[in-house]
Symmetry: C2
């Protein structure tokens, strides 16, 4: 059976319901993929990372990203692929927007411990806001 | 708690036990990510796709790929990232190698139906063999 294309609304529903996606970055001819928790908020994909590391180096050099989310329901799979552009920020307003979006989704924790809004100022953290340039999705039978 | 680096042996165990990974490709400055079933066989990652489509166009233009596999066990996550180079083939020997590796792993099906070794010749299919250039892995607490 051939996969079916998802509508934009169906893509939005999957982006809203999942909690972990796969972030694709690239530098030169080398792609790089990592799993990461996120929130879909006001049409953007929000995530956060520590203030250093390979993914951040790559994203500073090339802000074009891919964000992919999938689900499995019995034998049926769905996958949404977002082509986007990321803005990186470590200012306190961006951290608060991110924190509030994660908290609204019941996800105000990280690495085994919860963190609090008043701790954000001293936390070394980069906020990633991914603007969606293109979205597509498919579903099919495994 | 900071993530721990996995040894090469631990990376190999995760690659051997999982059935679905995330394939990262890139063209120009645009990364592209898709979930896909695979087999880890004789130190290579084997997968297959139909004879057309976006991922194949990209891989023909740029054979550098990333293949990422993760697992979740209670609150503990593991992730392995492979940097590799893909060879694409639609000849019958490559199809048979791929079929035998998938069958040995109990995965001789596709899109809801099983297929048979004697059907391979007339099936429009591209075999992807990913040579591993670099592998790393981490584990941490969610």
């Amino acid at each position: 059976m051939k996969p079916r294309e998802l509508s934009e609304e169906e893509c939005g529903r999957l982006l809203s319901s999942a909690r972990v996606g796969h972030l694709g970055l690239s530098l030169g001819d080398s792609p790089y993929v990592i799993p990461i928790s996120y929130v879909f908020d006001s049409g953007k994909i929000l995530l956060h990372s520590r203030g250093d590391g390979r993914k951040l180096e790559i994203a500073h050099a090339n802000p074009r990203v891919c964000f992919q989310v999938d689900s499995m329901d019995g034998g049926c799979w769905r996958s949404v692929v977002v082509q986007g552009r990321v803005s990186l920020s470590d200012d306190i307003d961006a951290k608060r927007r991110m924190f509030d979006a994660f908290t609204s989704s019941g996800m105000a924790g990280h690495a085994g411990k919860a963190f609090r809004r008043e701790d954000l100022d001293r936390m070394e953290m980069t906020v990633w806001e991914i603007e969606i340039l293109e979205v597509s999705g498919r579903e099919g039978v495994w």
